[in-house]
């Protein structure tokens, strides 16, 4: 066990854990930030996506000891980012979720995409989002919401 001080959503937090403990479990069990989800533990599903210095990473395979001074942003803090806020609003407006379990990770990946590429095309969306599984397969809406957040024309499939 050792003390680690990391910056999460702009705040310094100190935890006393094993250095191998993945960031995912530090966030969930030590810091009580439950928004970041566990799906596979092996970087396959993207449910645990957070930003480290703005880059999307899979927190389930990121040991706490590797985080260091970097800025960690989670779904709980992404609304403070103007792009993150837009993405959240688009998700609400297009009623994206089914079960909702994957959506924190989807929003984190979508925000990272739009922060780098304000006008993504379908291929860009495929590339940025294919690491995030939605078991309910809300992909039609996720794609539409990313375009909506980018101010691009989008298919709204909410009406019959």
């Amino acid at each position: 066990m050792a003390a680690f001080t990391i910056t999460v959503n702009g705040e310094k937090r100190t935890v006393d854990v094993d250095g191998e403990m993945p960031l995912l479990w530090v966030l969930r069990d030590e810091l009580d930030l439950k928004g970041t989800k566990f799906g596979c533990g092996i970087a396959q599903c993207g449910a645990c996506t957070v930003h480290i210095n703005g880059t999307p990473v899979r927190s389930c395979v990121t040991p706490i000891a590797a985080v260091g001074e970097a800025e960690v942003t989670t779904i709980e803090g992404i609304g403070a980012d103007p792009v993150g806020k837009k993405v959240q609003e688009a998700w609400l407006e297009l009623d994206v979720p089914q079960c909702g379990y994957c959506q924190a990770g989807q929003i984190m990946s979508a925000t990272a995409l739009l922060s780098k590429n304000a006008q993504p095309n379908d291929k860009d969306i495929d590339n940025a989002m294919s690491g995030n599984i939605c078991r309910c397969a809300t992909y039609t809406r996720i794609r539409a919401a990313i375009k909506q957040a980018a101010g691009l024309p989008t298919a709204d499939s909410r009406e019959v």
């Binding site: 566990f38 596979c40 779904i75 009623d95 079960c99 379990y101 397969a137 009406e159």
Partner: protein
């Protein structure tokens, strides 16, 4: 058309208890009786949350078990059933709110606990809509009636002279008004009316039903607020992992418990003995399988300790079972006569003898896992002979019964909180993880949250059973289908067919071909099976839907035309017998034709000149009372197959209650069907080979084509949408691959890269 699937039989237990009489009227009467017994009674005091009352500036008056109204007009409606992502937390309260006649913006939704006052509380079989369409609208109408009566009494005028609009009662003559908030306390003291005496709204006056209302939990979801089972936290809670045998149900000979206990951060470790009657192999009855529990202050510490765990497992007879041996047995059985005749019409052999053309084909599909994105988990707190449970479950009352019998306590001493599920797909109709958590909490003497890792989840599922179909059919000189035979080799023993491995006597084209036989042979199985979204149908649709396409091509006919021809003229067939206390609607040929015609129009089927390598496939399937026809378009190239688009046409009755979630469900279900084409669970040595998502591919964004959904409205009462859009997507894809490449898919899973054309 597997209507009485195993899932439905499973839900039957729940439904039957709550609905001793049959028919929707009986359901509503029953619901209502409990409602009226509760109205204004002490039973509901617990629901008047102090903080809510304070926030609203006054106590909220309960009108019935589902509705309470605060003085400021804020209406709280109880969402009675488990939310698994199918949208019932919105949809069911919408039915009440519509007839209560309140503005949706003034509605607050609260999740119910498991409580008999609400009637059946389960999420399965796409039953939420047909079971509640009538009864919950009447709950709302009864509330409205009581509010109107209260207003009329206050004014001393006949109730008939009063009207309502969005939470306000108005006297037509004088123009006087009173808000529901002002009337609620008085209304709550009135006797509830007979629900069947109430007149329901004309659908053209609907203000809430038919609106695309966003999910009530969406704001919490996008901000990452705790919401799911895995997020539950109770005071003093420990974290647990539970290691079971990869060969399902093996007993423990020895385990290095002391070594595990000594690891840093580990609080405790112990063997949990498996129940003698552990429920196997019926996945939904599984209670406790033997294993080792490790308890720690955080989940990861317990999980890491598991890597040091050494268990010697006892020999287990099912270790001889494997997917390979199942396929060999199926091949052998296919050469013999079926052991069970499911249906026999006319004389198939004679008709085959005079057929101008016969077609023979063998189809096979594998076991599948549910792989809900949220792994199975449950939090339990056992104390003094009672247990409180926080569970993401689709069938809480069955969980309660299993927990009570396993712990030897009374069902009343099991409290279950219904927690939002990170996906269900049928997996959480079983409650094995709930029983485990309860037992571990009891043994630990503390509240415990048990979370399975992905490998636990994939290796301890109740799998969609594999299946093998040996078809032979005959066409006459005009290409008319005159003979059809299926020998279905599936799983079970003696008379007992494994859970979700059934076929019914009405599987299409049964009833549309004069000479038809469906027979079954069974392979013994020790691996638990159970319902996966559209159970039965998800495998049968592939085999039957693909073989019908083969027949169309053999007949030299357009596959969509061929289906219409087999269906024949619009007519309504004889209704199947009631199942689990509910009248089952008859099959309506007009509705089947209707969705085929709709998908033809919307997809431009047969209208467009397709480039070389591009093909369209069509399929129809009826399940869960819903009629669905789907077209898939694919393009084959040097890299393999690319999916271009899916068109879905569905008929689920007269009304789409919440179009936004309805379309979301159909898009998701069609894509779920596509995803299943690439998945496989294999059994070797009695255990599941796949351990995580790298070996069990779930559909990803770059593989998901656009989906276009269209509904055809018909006269029938609305039915559910969680499942019926799934099955036809599978054969539609396979038929499109044939259209594009000339290669027929007779075995799942497939790899899209295997179908290349240059």
């Amino acid at each position: 058309m597997a209507r009485t699937s195993t899932l439905e039989q499973a839900t039957a237990t729940t439904a039957v208890q709550a609905m001793p009489e049959s028919g929707p009227a009986a359901i509503s009467r029953r619901t209502f009786l409990t409602v009226s017994a509760a109205a204004g009674g002490g039973l509901l005091l617990g629901f008047t949350l102090p903080q809510l009352a304070k926030a609203n500036g006054a106590a909220a008056a309960p009108l019935n078990a589902f509705v309470r109204i605060a003085r400021d007009g804020i209406v709280t409606i109880i969402a009675k059933s488990p939310e698994v992502g199918q949208g019932v937390k919105n949809m069911l309260p919408m039915l009440i709110a519509e007839e209560l006649d309140v503005a949706w913006k003034n509605v607050r939704i609260e999740q119910a606990k498991l409580d008999p006052v609400y009637g059946p509380q389960f999420a399965g079989g796409s039953f939420s809509t047909p079971m509640h369409w009538d009864s919950l609208r009447r709950v709302g109408a009864a509330g409205r009636h009581m509010l109107v009566t209260a207003a009329a009494q206050t004014w001393g005028v006949p109730a008939e002279e009063c009207e309502t609009s969005e939470g306000v009662v108005r006297h037509k003559g004088s123009g006087k008004t009173l808000t529901y908030g002002e009337l609620a306390a008085k209304a709550a003291r009135l006797k509830a009316p007979d629900p069947n005496s109430l007149k329901l709204k004309d659908p053209k006056d609907y203000k809430i039903i038919g609106q695309p209302l966003p999910g009530v939990d969406n704001p919490l979801i996008v901000e990452g607020k705790p919401l799911f089972g895995i997020d539950v936290k109770v005071p003093g809670m420990r974290h647990a992992v539970f290691q079971k045998s990869p060969v399902v149900g093996s007993r423990i000979v020895s385990a290095n418990i002391d070594e595990i206990k000594a690891l840093p951060g580990v609080r405790n470790a112990f063997i949990v003995r498996g129940a003698d009657d552990n429920g196997l192999p019926d996945g939904m009855s599984v209670t406790v399988l033997e294993g080792v529990a490790i308890v720690a202050d955080s989940w990861w510490v317990a999980e890491r300790a598991r890597q040091k765990l050494k268990i010697e497992w006892a020999e287990n007879p099912i270790a001889t079972q494997s997917s390979k041996s199942f396929a060999e047995q199926a091949e052998r059985l296919s050469k013999e006569a079926p052991t069970k005749v499911v249906r026999k019409d006319g004389d198939v052999d004679a008709a085959l003898g005079r057929a101008a053309k016969t077609v023979e084909a063998a189809y096979a599909y594998p076991f599948l896992s549910h792989a809900t994105l949220e792994p199975q988990n449950c939090t339990a707190h056992y104390k003094n002979g009672k247990v409180e449970i926080w569970a993401p479950t689709q069938m809480p009352d069955r969980g309660r019964a299993l927990v009570a019998s396993t712990l030897g306590i009374k069902p009343e001493d099991v409290t279950i909180h219904l927690i939002r599920c990170g996906g269900g797909f049928g997996r959480r109709l079983a409650n094995d993880y709930m029983v485990e958590a309860a037992v571990i909490s009891k043994m630990q003497g503390e509240p415990v949250k048990l979370v399975w890792n992905r490998t636990d989840d994939m290796r301890h599922d109740m799998y969609r059973p594999a299946g093998f179909h040996y078809f032979k059919a005959g066409l006459d000189a005009d290409g008319k289908l005159i003979a059809f035979r299926d020998h279905f080799v599936t799983f079970g023993e003696g008379d007992k067919v494994a859970s979700s491995a059934e076929i019914t006597e009405n599987e299409f084209p049964a009833r549309f071909v004069d000479n038809l036989e469906i027979g079954m042979s069974l392979i013994p199985l020790g691996i638990p099976t159970g319902p996966l979204r559209a159970p039965g149908s998800n495998g049968l649709a592939f085999a039957f839907g693909s073989f019908m396409d083969e027949l169309a091509h053999a007949a030299g006919k357009d596959p969509l035309e061929f289906l219409l021809e087999v269906f024949g003229e619009p007519r309504v067939l004889e209704a199947p017998p009631p199942a689990f206390g509910m009248r089952m609607p008859p099959f309506d040929v007009g509705r089947a034709r209707g969705v085929l015609e709709l998908v033809r129009e919307k997809s431009g089927w047969g209208q467009r000149q397709l480039p070389k390598g591009t093909g369209m496939g069509v399929a129809f399937y009826y399940s869960h009372m819903g009629y669905f026809a789907e077209v898939v378009q694919v393009t084959a190239g040097p890299q393999g197959i690319k999916l271009d688009k899916i068109w879905v046409a569905g008929d689920v009755g007269s009304q789409i209650i919440n179009p936004s979630m309805a379309k979301n469900q159909c898009e998701g279900a069609a894509l779920d069907g596509i995803g299943e084409c690439f998945q496989e669970i294999t059994i070797e040595g009695g255990s599941v080979v796949q351990s995580n998502l790298h070996e069990y591919p779930l559909l990803r964004m770059n593989q998901a084509p656009p989906v276009e959904v269209h509904f055809r409205l018909s006269d029938a009462p609305p039915t559910g949408l969680g499942e019926p859009a799934l099955p036809p997507a599978i054969p539609a894809l396979c038929n499109a691959i044939f259209a594009a490449t000339g290669q027929r898919v007779r075995k799942l899973p497939i790899k899209l890269t295997d179908f290349r054309i240059t």
